[in-house]
Symmetry: C2
Subunit: 245 residues, 2 copies
Amino acid sequence: MRNIKLTIEYDGTRYLGWQRLGDSDKTIQGKIENILTQMTRSKVEIVGSGRTDAGTHAKGQIANFKTDSKMALSEMIEFLNRYLPQDIVVKKLEEVPERFHARYNAKGKKYSYYIWNNMIPSAFERNYSFHYAEELDLELMNEACSKLTGTHDFIGFSSLKKTKKSTTRTINELSIQKDGNLIHFTFVGDGFLHKMVRILMGTLLEIGAGTLQLAAIDEVFESKIRSEAGITVPAQGLFLDEVYY
Amino acid sequence: MRNIKLTIEYDGTRYLGWQRLGDSDKTIQGKIENILTQMTRSKVEIVGSGRTDAGTHAKGQIANFKTDSKMALSEMIEFLNRYLPQDIVVKKLEEVPERFHARYNAKGKKYSYYIWNNMIPSAFERNYSFHYAEELDLELMNEACSKLTGTHDFIGFSSLKKTKKSTTRTINELSIQKDGNLIHFTFVGDGFLHKMVRILMGTLLEIGAGTLQLAAIDEVFESKIRSEAGITVPAQGLFLDEVYY
């Protein structure tokens, strides 16, 4: 059996998210599996590095699948990009050892979140950022980034209920770059709980807007109470940039 | 009567182009006129700086309209951006002298064209560039840009039939910038004939690909025969960036 690793880019606007839902044709995983099944003429299931929510994008989602097919990788990638919808692109295919598993072996991930920060919205960034019109205190948000960096129990910054599994994660980098009206947030860590990036982002946003105190971060680490953190920002500003192995 | 100048940004993907077609709701002009008519409660017609083709985008289209309305500009822009679809944005409104006419007074225009130059397509640039997979000789294309710059009769590089009006235009700048896989072409001139940017672009592309000789440019200036120039590239890579007055 060959084990093949895919690097995938997608514009999530039209989709219900990564994970296949029954026979629905509105998920990224479902779309790719359907084409792979046509290509290899036997049912293919792919393993993604993790789910992405409806509307969330990816520039470097990773998945793998096993196949008996003898087809060359160069032919496969051509077939895939010819028959996939234009908003899903397979950027790379690699032959990997049979034990490689896109989810279990992931050692970390990099996400981006974009805020369009101007009174006037953007016609081009509308599906790729969250439009926030009010002024933001970037200095305060940078302080908040420092507080969030490091190893913490992030359960209060996730949509998870109490669980026996560890909810401790390490954020290695959380940085902010302003480029005109677009503010780009980079999150690098060893793993992110469900909705964690969007809730961290909502917390940073509320701190920058002055509706939440900087001290709220330590309080949520302490209390582990989701409702004391910021809002969950919309999925359309979020990109999965890279998965580390 | 007040005369109001609009600066408009639009993602042209979903539209049949700028110019209103009867009662069709699928044009930019039609969409904006409908909202302005609702806003002022009397029929409004807007004059654009010029048409853009179906699928073409704008970052700085200019238009103007006359109205008796007493509404403040700040209220108007808020109303417009609230009720326009998200892929059309009014960036600026200005009070201008009654004689200002967005088309007649335009002294020049700036366009951009984007080529996505890689084997692998882009999920995010698919509607905002032309995907061209083969290698391009940028040096040769730069030479072609020099040849096209200046004052020439561009009728052979347009979709126009013989006409009594002058088809002589001046291109002040035609430059190429490469940013990763994206190649950005900038066209600045005192005016562009119908389809001229897309045919110049197709000519540059064929020269870069080696399927058309550099000498073809002088030959088309000479012969004025459209079929001797390059293809008309797709509209989705084209942006109207700025109109000069």
